[in-house]
């Protein structure tokens, strides 16, 4: 009895706390001097003193910092064309925007300061003052849980709604319309690579995806599928299915024309209601009912689509190979598997994040390549690598850079030292293509996809193709926004400028990659720090000998000990 009292008291307190938090969550304080001060100290360098997105850092950034003067906010919990809630603004400041230069401010600014900033940001756009009603929120009530069938339906919608045009067949942001997109301010922008959930600006929960889809990403080319622009708005799921069948026919019969005509009439009526509502007209009860029914179908389909998008990305960013995670080449007996062999599926990829090269001019501040993934097998004489990396566009050297006149193309370079440093304190070559100590490179270019050139470099601008090109076998393919490159080389070569490989020896390895469509050429590229690579030695058979031996010895020792103690005891007695 007493327990129950305690429980209900606890629940009461928790409930009150929730209510208090919600109450607090809804509104920012009035704009104040404090908000201005925090903004100018922490935000203005990107977003500009007047909120125009033109701070001193903006020049080198893409996506550009948001211009607050137009009230267009990407990440909202509200319908298309609506302003964000205060909570939306607070959340984006708190959590930042992954994949962009907007960092999370959760530790750098106190919650109070963040609320002050929210209030201050709103002063840049009069619409916040003028709007009398609170923005309409997107309802998350009838969420459809993640399931195979739902993903399957979503996959169909992904094509039918035209997501594929920009985001590509499997979502890597490689759609045929991707290269020409610009945002509301005319700056180039790339569609999200849906296979990299860790770079989704507004988070990768199914709810986040759903909200971005329904509400759109204001200011970007991502449209809002708010309702009336949805496929067959106003029809039930069955009616929509039937109409799709009709629409997919090359020729319709007269009866079919008539049938589809009725569907179109029904759709037009529903769209009319939706537009009335959007224009601020009061709806009659019957109209409201029609609208709600239509929206129910839209929301249902959108959850399926969100589930499908969710299925495209791993739950988390793969663990980077920094630290103790090492690229380990697995030993196999006999021939090494070619590029499309199923054997590669058995290996886990080493994930090597890359960042823009900002050390030496020309620099790349806005990289489009996230990472290089690597797998490797070796046998007694050779080693094979499979490199994969996402690139939204295939650039094969038929375009030139407007400012430099240089040929643009996609490329990858894998970097090793010429000589493996001996011991932990021995110097490595400079990670940017060497210096005093040279590096040995494999350079692959999209214009010659079946060829890897061996280079020796003593600096990023000081690389030369080796005179003696070894026998490197190469295969490559570009498909659905992803490059695959397969390279095979002998473990030992006769060339002194080559790296010689030996099982069990840790070799530094690093990567450079170029996305031609992003203007990458020469030093303008993405690159990685030094990681480690090793031909994983075949596990020693000692592991089956020593442990049992030690176990047996320990048993013997215990018996011996007992006998010894017993003997001493009897002696003492």
């Amino acid at each position: 009895m007493r327990n129950r009292n305690v429980v209900s008291l606890l629940m009461l307190v928790l409930g009150m706390l929730c209510v208090l938090m919600l109450a607090h969550a809804q509104n920012a304080p009035e704009a104040s001097e404090k908000g201005k001060e925090v903004y100018e100290n922490s935000c203005a360098h990107c977003h500009g003193v007047e909120g125009r997105g033109d701070g001193s850092a903006a020049e080198n950034l893409l996506p550009k910092p948001r211009d607050f003067t137009r009230g267009l906010y990407k990440i909202r919990s509200t319908e298309s064309g609506q302003l964000p809630t205060d909570q939306d603004l607070f959340d984006i400041i708190t959590e930042g925007m992954p994949g962009s230069s907007m960092p999370p401010w959760d530790t750098a600014l106190s919650a109070d300061d963040r609320w002050e900033v929210v209030a201050y940001i709103k002063t840049f756009y009069d619409g916040f003052k003028e709007s009398e009603t609170p923005p309409r929120a997107i309802s998350l009530e009838d969420k459809i849980p993640y399931a195979e069938e739902s993903v399957e339906i979503g996959k169909g919608l992904y094509v039918d709604l035209g997501c594929v045009e920009c985001h590509g067949n499997v979502g890597r942001g490689d759609g045929t319309s991707a290269p020409t997109l610009t945002d509301e301010w005319g700056f180039q922008t790339w569609p999200a690579n849906l296979a990299q959930g860790w770079n989704y600006r507004g988070g990768a929960d199914t709810e986040d995806i759903f909200k971005r889809f329904i509400g759109g990403i204001a200011g970007s080319p991502m449209p809002a599928f708010e309702g009336d622009s949805f496929l067959h708005f106003g029809l039930t799921a069955e009616e929509s299915k039937r109409l799709s069948e009709l629409e997919n026919k090359d020729e319709m019969t007269e009866a079919e024309e008539e049938e589809s005509g009725k569907f179109y009439e029904k759709m037009d009526a529903a769209v009319d209601i939706a537009l009335n509502r959007a224009e601020g007209m009061e709806l009659s009860a019957a109209e409201q009912q029609t609208y709600d029914n239509a929206m129910k179908v839209v929301y249902e389909k959108s959850w399926h689509l969100a589930n499908y998008v969710k299925s495209l990305t791993p739950e988390k960013r793969p663990e980077s190979a920094i630290g103790n995670n090492v690229l380990r080449s697995q030993y196999v007996q006999g021939a090494l598997p070619p590029m499309d062999d199923a054997a590669w599926e058995t290996l886990q990829s080493g994930y090597f994040p890359v960042v823009g090269q900002v050390v030496i001019e020309p620099r790349q501040f806005n990289p489009t390549i996230d990472s290089v993934n690597v797998k490797s097998f070796y046998n007694d004489t050779e080693v094979a690598f499979l490199f994969t990396w996402d690139d939204r566009t295939q650039t094969i050297g038929d375009e030139t850079d407007e400012t430099t006149g240089k040929t643009l193309e996609d490329a990858l370079a894998i970097q090793f030292p010429v000589k493996v440093p001996q011991g932990p304190t021995a110097p490595k070559p400079y990670f940017l293509w060497g210096g005093r100590l040279p590096v040995y490179l494999w350079h692959w270019k999209a214009s010659a996809p079946e060829q890897v050139t061996e280079l020796t470099a003593k600096g990023i601008n000081n690389a030369e193709a080796q005179e003696a090109q070894g026998e490197l076998q190469t295969q490559s393919i570009y498909k659905d926004g992803q490059y695959k490159l397969w390279v095979k080389r002998a473990l030992k070569t006769d060339d002194k400028k080559d790296l010689q490989l030996e099982p069990g020896v840790f070799v530094p390895i690093a990567f450079s990659a170029w996305d031609g469509a992003n203007g990458d050429v020469d030093t303008k590229r993405v690159m990685s720090s030094w990681y480690a690579f090793v031909l994983e030695p075949v596990p020693s058979s000692k592991r089956f000998i020593y442990p049992p031996l030690i176990a047996i010895l320990s048993v013997g020792f215990l018996f011996g000990l007992r006998a010894f103690v017993q003997r001493r005891n009897s002696e003492e007695v």
């Binding site: 080198n60 890359v354 900002v358 090793v534």
Partner: protein
């Protein structure tokens, strides 16, 4: 209640200390403690216990009594058999895990703040000795606050046009490029950074970048550019003013150093 035997108490102390170090100190109170350090503390505790039990013969015997009992007393037969099975199994697993463990790459010891050269230079021109050079604009802080503010603002601009992708909006070393650089960019909000070095040290680090480090600082790994190639002398001094103004930490001065 039966009194605990000395052996059990020692066992409890050992296990308790390990749990305390591993989870309470290295979790609740502070960041996890390296296992080598825990090992060192545990070694000290074991020595202390050994000293304690071996001071008197009687205490030593009392300590060993439960061990004796387990080994020979017929009443402890079950316990004896359980131990006779558990110990070999534990050793079997432990040795297997050690032998089968994959080798890891050798860690490279790195001095994050190696000693600077004796002379401070900018593009080969000597400015002065590392110890004597001061920030030429620092004196404005007292003499001309307006001019000082202008220099700080210029430093702010220089910082955000050049440094912030790695060192972060908040100067905390957490810029958007930072997570995948090795070594990590410096965190100027760390109280151990700015107050410990003279402004000339920062000038040296900025002007010469990663490649200017001595070998102890693993110059081949650092992604810090050689900023004297891009920034003027004044811009470097200004950005140093900004670093200390924004974080509120004062760099070490010559007077304090002695």
């Amino acid at each position: 209640m039966k009194r605990l035997s000395l052996f059990t108490i020692c066992l409890i102390i050992l296990v308790g200390s390990w749990v305390f170090l591993r989870f309470v100190v290295g979790g609740v109170i502070s960041v996890p403690i390296p296992s080598s350090v825990i090992g060192m503390y545990m070694g000290l505790i074991i020595i202390a216990i050994l000293v304690h039990i071996s001071v008197e013969d009687s205490r030593f015997r009392e300590f060993l009594r439960p061990v004796h009992e387990t080994l020979i007393d017929d009443k402890r037969r079950i316990r004896r058999r359980v131990i006779a099975v558990l110990i070999p199994i534990f050793l079997l697993g432990y040795t297997y895990s050690i032998i089968a463990q994959r080798a890891n790459p050798p860690g490279s010891p790195r001095d994050a703040h190696p000693s600077p050269p004796l002379e401070l230079t900018y593009k080969d021109a000597v400015i002065g000795t590392m110890q004597d050079v001061v920030n030429p604009f620092r004196h404005y802080e007292k003499d001309d606050p307006e001019a000082f503010k202008a220099h700080v603002e210029n430093g702010r601009r220089v910082y955000h046009q050049n440094c912030f992708p790695c060192h972060g909006d908040h100067l905390d070393g957490q810029g958007h490029f930072a997570p995948y650089l090795q070594p990590l960019p410096a965190n100027f909000q760390d109280p151990g950074i700015i107050p410990n070095f003279q402004e000339s040290f920062f000038f040296w680090r900025i002007a010469k970048g990663g490649p200017g480090l001595p070998a102890a600082g693993t110059p081949w790994d650092s992604a810090m550019p050689i900023w004297e190639d891009y920034l003027t002398k004044d811009e470097i001094w200004d950005v140093i003013l900004f670093l200390s103004d924004y974080t509120g930490y004062q760099p070490r001065t010559f007077g304090e150093a002695h």
